[in-house]
């Protein structure tokens, strides 16, 4: 339930401009899908929203206030690389957020309270299909299971802003659909603002109320490092629109979704996703 304003944000690493001139107003309850070529700075953008990194220039406001200088419980995250806690079992990982909230001193609940927390967590584990792996440690989980655990962990806190970095990449279509459902339900219920980075355009369209694309506008080998990526498309989506009505946008974007493309050659790729859609 928060608005996010990004005002002329730049990000450089070691003198290399990664992102430049980002300007974005995100009203509350938005579901922003972010797509863009690999390595263009999507994760970096989320890291800035999380206060894990600071913009080199410009500022980010939440509800008109400058972004808190450190990560906080209002902003949940699912990282691109699985980042669950290796020393906690699946159930303990999921319940951790609840414990932090209810046990300010020990960070750990006992007895009745603990059972209750685990029960609440169980609910989310069920939603992500990990109930049976309840007592396993992350090292005994498959990649997709770890990713689902990370999702459950973040969702359980019902953050106001949720940052998702390719959260469904390692999931099979069945589970992925379950996750979509879960995500949309939670979003509608708790009215949070969601940023979702994904490589699956279909997913971006299906879930988002808004789609933004990152890309470098100017690009030739000698200049790499001097120009960063910025927002190239910013398209409002209606959740109720049938996907095929968005074919036009699709086509335009798919031409951009590669790193070495100069804008003169809009679509030389035969991406299967795009193809299938276009034939409809």
């Amino acid at each position: 339930m928060s608005t996010v304003s990004i005002k002329n944000v730049w990000k450089e690493y070691a003198g290399q401009v990664i992102l430049e001139q980002l300007n974005l107003e995100v009203p509350e309850q938005s579901f922003v899908s972010i797509v863009g070529p690999s390595g263009c700075g999507k994760s970096t953008f989320l890291r800035m929203l999380l206060s894990q990194e600071k913009p080199s220039r410009g500022e980010i406001l939440i509800d008109g206030q400058p972004l808190a200088e450190e990560p906080s419980a209002e902003r949940g995250v699912v990282f691109q690389r699985y980042s669950v806690f290796p020393h906690l079992t699946v159930a303990q990982n999921a319940a951790l957020g609840i414990e932090f909230e209810r046990a300010p001193w020990l960070g750990k609940l006992f007895g009745q309270k603990k059972r209750q927390a685990l029960e609440e967590a169980e609910h989310f584990l069920e939603a992500v299909g990990l109930v049976e792996a309840r007592d396993k440690y992350p090292s005994a989980l498959s990649g997709g299971m770890q990713q689902r655990l990370a999702i459950a962990q973040a969702l359980i806190k019902k953050p106001q802003i949720l940052l998702l970095d390719e959260p469904f990449g390692a999931l099979d279509p069945g589970i992925r659909a379950d996750m979509h459902e879960l995500m949309l339900n939670l979003w509608q219920e708790s009215k949070m603002t969601i940023f979702l980075v994904t490589h699956d355009l279909r997913e971006a369209f299906l879930l988002g109320t808004r789609l933004i694309t990152f890309d470098r506008l100017r690009q030739n080998a000698e200049e790499v490092g001097y120009y960063g990526a910025t927002i190239t498309y910013d398209v409002p989506l209606q959740a109720s629109d049938p996907i095929k009505q968005q074919a036009e946008v699709f086509e335009a974007i798919s031409g951009l979704a590669g790193p070495n493309i100069d804008s003169s050659k809009p679509s030389r790729r035969d991406d299967p996703v795009v193809n299938v859609t276009v034939v409809n």
Binding site: L50, Q52, E70, P71, S72, A73, R75, G76, V77, F79, R81, S83, F85, P86, H87, L88, L96, G97, E99, F100, E101, A103, P104, W105, L106, G107, K108, Y137, P138, S139, A140, Q153, A154, K157, P159
Partner: protein, 273 residues
């Protein structure tokens, strides 16, 4: 032909390989001892094996004429008490200070140079000052062990804390953890098994400092006995004492390793075994 890194010995071969170097050492000892004894039958440096059994029998199973104690056992008890005190205190200090230094930049700025400096100070050279502060009794021996190994433990733990992926700390903060909860639930539990490794590495130095402390002023203890025995080169007694210390240290090491695997199953898996 498999790569040598993939060839894993089975139980028997493992045991054989583990014992082999010790066997070789034993043989080397016996041969050198024989050579020296042939030259001087009274040689004290490398006594024959039968001398050892006599010395062990005397030290472990016969009451000392002067004190009525069974020396080996009373010495062991005295030393172990000091060692346990020193190692436990150092472990606690190592965990607390190490985690604080590794986790909290302000503490790191303030304490890490101090700890680095203390860890570099040769403690035996400032013994006089230690005596003044802690007296000559049991306390000063425990303190010497602490001064000897705690800085190492602190620095090792701090390094390990800093090696935790930063994503984990960020993640915990998004889950609402304050610094204290984060230390308690995210950092400390992941440090315990690593702390066990560090303690294992510092057991050797701990014994060293214990022995040094006991050589300074005491009436009992393994280090005390060794220094006393050294006064007349009674290697037939010193070597069994050294072997006994080594054996105990090795057993502690082994116990700690088992404990690590038992208590922290996730750690062994993470490591990829």
């Amino acid at each position: 032909m498999r790569r040598i890194i993939n060839r894993k010995p089975d139980r028997h071969l493992s045991l054989f390989l583990a014992l082999l170097p010790f066997m070789l050492l034993l043989v080397a000892y016996v041969v050198s001892s024989e050579i020296r004894l042939a030259e001087n039958p009274g040689d004290k440096l490398l006594p024959g094996l039968e001398k050892f059994s006599a010395a062990i029998d005397r030290l472990a199973f016969q009451a000392d004429k002067r004190t009525g104690n069974y020396l080996l056992w009373s010495d062991t008890l005295a030393s172990l008490r000091r060692l346990a005190g020193g190692v436990l205190a150092s472990t606690v200090i190592g965990a607390l200070c190490g985690v604080s230094i590794g986790l909290i930049p302000l503490v790191r700025a303030g304490l890490s140079p101090l700890v680095a400096v203390v860890s570099m100070t040769p403690p035996l050279a400032i013994l006089p000052i230690l005596f003044i502060v802690f007296g000559l009794g049991e306390l000063s021996k425990v303190v010497l062990i602490i001064i000897g190994i705690a800085p190492f433990l602190i620095r090792d733990v701090a390094l390990r804390v800093q090696e935790l992926p930063s994503e984990q700390l960020i993640k915990a903060q998004t889950l609402g953890a304050n610094s204290w909860q984060l230390a308690l639930r995210v950092v400390l539990p992941q440090i315990w098994p690593r702390l066990i490794d560090s303690v294992r590495l510092s057991l050797g130095p701990a014994w060293l400092f214990l022995i040094a402390a006991e050589a300074v002023a005491s009436q009992s203890g393994l280090g005390y006995r060794i220094f006393l025995l050294r006064r007349y080169l009674a290697m037939d007694s010193i070597l069994p004492y050294v072997a006994w210390i080594t054996l105990m240290a090795y057993l502690f090491d082994y116990a700690l390793r088992r404990m690590q695997i038992k208590l922290f199953p996730w750690f062994a898996n993470e490591r990829g075994h």
